[in-house]
Structures are given as C-alpha cells and as structure tokens.
C-alpha cells in the first residue's frame, strides 16, 4: 500500500484552492479549518468527483489524476473510500446491502463479507434494517464499514463526527481512531473542529481560504502557530488522562505521562482535558501563586513564538501544553527553551471530554 500524494489548483466560486499534501500509508492527516476553507473540495478532487484546473493525485504507484498528462480516472476507477458528511446511506437498501454495495461477486459472498464488517462494528443485529431506523452513531458506523468493504487504497472522511451528538461523538471518535489505524491505508479527514483533528489525526493541517496554512502535529500547531489565524483556530490545548471523583465536588484527572489536574466538570474514565492558552498563567518554578487557580503543573519551556502582539509559549508537562502571554510578561519571566516554570489555571477553565 502506497501513500497519497496530492497537488491541486482549482477555482470554486470565490475560492481559489491551492494545496499540496502527502499522507503515508497507515497515517491519518486531518485537515482542519473553518467552513468555506475548501476542505471538502480537496476530498472531492482526490475522489474524482471534481476535476481541478491543474494538479496530480497519486495513490502509491497508481496515478489517478494528472491534468498535464491528460489522465483523469473517473471515481469508480479509483479505489478510494469516501465517508460523506451526512453518511449518504442508500435509503432503500438495508445496512448489509449498503455495506455490500461496493463488492462484486455472488450475493452470498457479498453478504458474508458485509456481515463480517458489521460484526466488527458491533452492528450485526441491525444488518437487515433500513438506514432510516438506525441511530446517528449506527449510521456513521455503517458508512465507515461501507467505505472500507471494497478494501480501498485510501480513505477520505468528511466531518465524520460532526453529525453526532456530544455523547455519541466521544465513543465514536475512539472507535474511528482504532479503525483508521487498523486500516493501514492513507487516510485524509476534514473537520471544522480542531479538537477532533487533534484527536484523530497523526498530523494536522490547518486550512484557510483554499490553502494549507500550516501542517504538523497538533501540539506543534498550538505551540508555534505560524499566523494569528492558526493561533485562533488551534485555540485549546488538548491533554489526555484518566478522570475520577475528587474532593469538594471536583474531578481529579491523572494525566498520561505524569501530572494531575482538577476540573469543575464531571467525568469518569479516559478523558481529553482542554484549556485555552490564554487561561494559563506562568510563574517561576517554586513560586506558588496563592490565587484561586487550582491546577499547578511543573513544566519545561520548549518554545517561545511571537504571533502578532502575543506570544505562544510551548511547554512540556511532559504532554505538550501551550500558554499565551503578553510580550512584557514573557520578558519579565525570562522565558526561554529549557527553563523550568509552573503553569497554572483554574479548575473552572478546565474542560473535560470523555474519550
């Protein structure tokens, strides 16, 4: 299985799309950006649903599109799985028939394989039901199963979690992350939610106005945003840990890799902890701020990046953490890579997302 290599230039209404990206086999690149940034268009170009003005799409050794050379395979000739935003399940076919749609061969064979996949997604009991009778989460799983059934060479997902309610989304994202890694093919996912991108993507690319503005790990983007837009968009820091009941009605979260924080929200079990960089105060090590902030973490400064008139400070807790300070504050604290400081923020500013 090869990786996905894409370049594309296209004009869509007012938007001028211009992207270049690569996704290795087994890797998931998450494109995050506001609506209208052109994210779905990138997927449509790769799938062959839109022919760009210029560009090239190759999956491994197979060239699906090469505008210069006049190569443009139709969608049905590209082995590209696509999970649509509203799932696009065929309304008159049952769940197993949907999953089997992309398969060829005798009916029994197709049904067997479809049932296998549904089993893996925990949907065997719903195999003969029509999409209308399935819940949002179930439909999402059928859609993913359907895209995977024909063993595609690449997987594209358009906002795979956004149609789900908050509770379902948590479990679904965990499942999806596992599926993506098991599939072993390059996966490209688009979302308007940076947190989702951070959770599901091995790498994240921030898109705005048709271009990929910055790409890297989620931590890098938050810690060292290249532009104010990226800084705004990446917003919250995401840590992972395990939550349990604490004292005084607070939730205690043991962070993966060390450290403990408290949150005013309720959760138990694996959680994602989010806090906005501008809610994080930084003080020299050893100085305990007697303010109402409840969370203190001893951290090491990894990077100091100026963005406009703000400064993003990358910290390691050891999980990556990002604080946003003013320039004078950074001066006062003598922050530079390697310095050991204390990051603190309020328990009420700590959001928990069950995983």
């Amino acid at each position: 299985m090869g990786g996905l290599a894409v370049t594309a230039e296209h004009r869509l209404g007012d938007l001028e799309l211009s992207v270049a990206l690569e996704v290795a086999a087994g890797e998931c690149l998450a494109l995050a950006g506001p609506s209208g940034a052109g994210k779905s268009s990138v997927l449509r170009v790769i799938a062959g649903l839109v022919a760009p003005r210029a560009g090239r799409v190759a999956c491994g050794d197979h060239v699906w599109l090469d505008v210069e050379r006049g190569v443009d395979l139709p969608p049905e000739a590209r082995r590209c799985g696509y999970v649509f935003q509203d799932y696009a399940l065929f309304p008159r076919l049952s769940a197993w028939q949907n999953v089997a749609y992309g398969l060829r061969g005798p009916r029994r064979q197709r049904r067997t394989r479809a049932l296998e996949l549904l089993e893996r997604f925990g949907l065997s009991a719903r195999a003969d039901d029509r999409p209308r009778t399935l819940s949002g989460g179930e439909r999402q799983r059928v859609a993913v199963a359907r895209a995977l059934a024909p063993r595609p060479s690449a997987l594209l997902l358009d906002e795979p979690l956004s149609a789900l309610d908050a509770r379902t989304r948590a479990a679904a994202s965990r499942e999806l992350a596992a599926v993506l890694h098991a599939a072993g093919v390059p996966a490209l996912l688009v979302t308007h939610d940076f947190q989702e991108a951070a959770l599901l993507g091995d790498r994240v690319g921030v898109m705005d106005a048709g271009r990929i503005v910055q790409a890297g790990s989620a931590g890098e983007l938050a810690a060292a945003p290249a532009t104010p837009f990226v800084a705004d968009f990446t917003g919250a820091v995401v840590l992972t840990g395990t939550a349990s009941r604490g004292d005084a009605g607070l939730t205690r979260v043991r962070l993966d890799g060390g450290g403990e924080v408290s949150s005013a929200e309720d959760a138990v079990g694996p959680v994602a902890v989010t806090v906005f960089p501008w809610d994080i105060a930084v003080a020299p090590a050893g100085a305990v701020d007697p303010g109402s902030a409840r969370n203190h973490l001893e951290v090491e400064v990894v990077s100091v990046t100026a963005v406009g008139n703000r400064v993003r400070v990358g910290l390691a807790a050891p999980q990556p953490l990002t604080a946003e300070l003013t320039e004078p504050a950074v001066e006062r604290l003598h922050l530079r890579p390697g310095a050991r400081v204390v990051a603190s923020w309020k328990a009420t500013a700590t959001r928990l997302l069950p995983l």
Partner: protein
C-alpha cells in the same frame, strides 16, 4: 378557518358531479348493452394498446433523458427544459398542427418518412406518435423533479464505491425516485388515454385503426348518447383504477422505506 370549507365543497361538487352524472344518467343495464356493441370494445382496446405503447416509449426514452437534465448542469439547460415542456401548454389542436407540420405528408420530414416507407397518417402508428407527443411532458417533468430531489451525495457515494454512472442510475437513482416516476407515468398514461384533438388531426378516425375511445365517444355523442355514456363510464373507471393503484403503490413504497 371554517369558511375554507365552502370553497372546498364547491370545488368538490364542481369536479365530482359531472363524473357521477356519467354513471347516473342512464340505467346500468343500458350502459352495459351499449358497451357490447362492436365498435365500442374496439375503440377501448385501441385506446389501451396505443396508450400503453406510447407510455413504454416515453418511459424508455424519457427516464435517462430526465436523469441527465436533473443531474448535470450544462449551458442551455433551462432552455432545453422549457422546450421539452412545451407540449404541456400547447392546446391539443395546436399539437395536431405541429405534428402535421413536422411529420405529416407535407411536413418537414414527410418526404423522408415516405421514402423510408413509414406511414403515420391514418395508421395506428400515427396515433401512438400523437399520444407520445402530448403525454411525454407529463412524465418528463415529474421524472426530472424526482431525480432532482435525489440527494446528490447518494449518487457520489455510489461512484466512489465503484459503480459507473449507468450502474448508479439503475441501482440507486431509479429505485429511489421510483414513486415519483410511477406518478409521472400514471399522469402521462391518463393524458394519452384522453387525447382527442391531436389524434384526430394527425391520424384521422377509423374504427379499429385510429378511432380511439375519446373519438368514439365523440362520434356516438351525436346519435347514440347512451353509447357515449357507456364508453365514458368505462374510461372513467379505467382512469380511476390507474389513479388508485398509483396512490396505493406510492403509499406502500413510502411505508417500506
């Protein structure tokens, strides 16, 4: 809100009364007798045959055409749609003239047809042509609307799963749009069954060959009103049966979704 009942009652009375009168104006025994008379059954059979043939042509040619119109954007699409819908607003007499001007013996293609040995005037084939012309917009319009209402992502999804545009059309578009297509077919069939003016002008009127039920009714109206009533009653019954079975089909299809 209550005063709305009055216009509804008026509309109902106005539409239902003439139809009921067909059945009530003469004793059923006489109606049945009049049916037994030879020309009547010939006319009914001819009407059914020609309408079914016209419908078959309309569906076979019209379905892919409507699909293309509904799913592709191309220049001049709006104009094309208007042109196709034109026969809808043409009075039947104008339709007759139009067919003659195009396919009649002195028409644009008249010479070519004659050379090819195709005879339309005075032939049953001519009736089928006339019916196809006046009835096709009824189907095309409905089919186009039904295909247009399909969620495009279904069609895209089908393509990404390896199905060619033709396969997508057959396996996804048609079954999903089916209720609308059936309605369109019923409308077209009803229109074809009732066509009078264009058929008379283009194909003429001869018992067994070109005299369809409406033409037979018209002939009998002047001399044998009972026979006209009888034929009308049968046509009403057939049309009602078609309408009801379409409603039934639509309803059951919706339930099975």
């Amino acid at each position: 809100m209550r005063w709305f009942a009055l216009p509804l009652a008026l509309a109902l009375a106005f539409l239902v009364l003439p139809v009921l009168a067909i059945f009530l104006d003469s004793p059923p025994g006489e109606l049945l007798d009049a049916l037994g008379e030879p020309g009547a059954l010939d006319a009914l059979w001819l009407s059914l045959r020609t309408s079914v043939t016209a419908l078959a042509i309309i569906v076979v040619v019209g379905t892919p055409a409507a699909y293309l119109l509904a799913t592709r954007r191309f220049r001049g699409r709006a104009l094309l749609i208007t042109l196709i819908e034109l026969p809808l607003v043409l009075p039947p007499a104008v339709a007759g003239i139009a067919l003659l001007a195009a396919l009649g013996p002195s028409g644009i293609l008249g010479g070519a047809l004659e050379d090819a040995g195709i005879q339309l005037t005075f032939e049953t084939a001519g009736v089928v042509v006339a019916l196809t012309f006046v009835a096709s917009p009824y189907y095309l319009r409905q089919a186009q609307a039904s295909f247009g209402a399909l969620d495009r992502s279904w069609l895209d999804a089908s393509r990404t799963l390896g199905a060619s545009p033709t396969r997508t059309f057959a396996r996804i578009a048609i079954p999903t749009a089916a209720p609308g297509l059936v309605t369109g077919g019923a409308l077209a069939f009803g229109r074809a069954l009732g066509e009078f003016g264009a058929t008379l002008m283009f194909a003429g009127s001869l018992a067994g060959i070109t005299q369809t039920a409406p033409l037979a009714i018209y002939e009998r109206f002047a001399t044998d009103f009972e026979a006209a009533l009888a034929l009308s009653a049968v046509l009403v019954a057939v049309s009602a049966a078609i309408l009801l079975s379409v409603k039934f089909f639509e309803g059951s299809a919706l339930r099975h979704d």
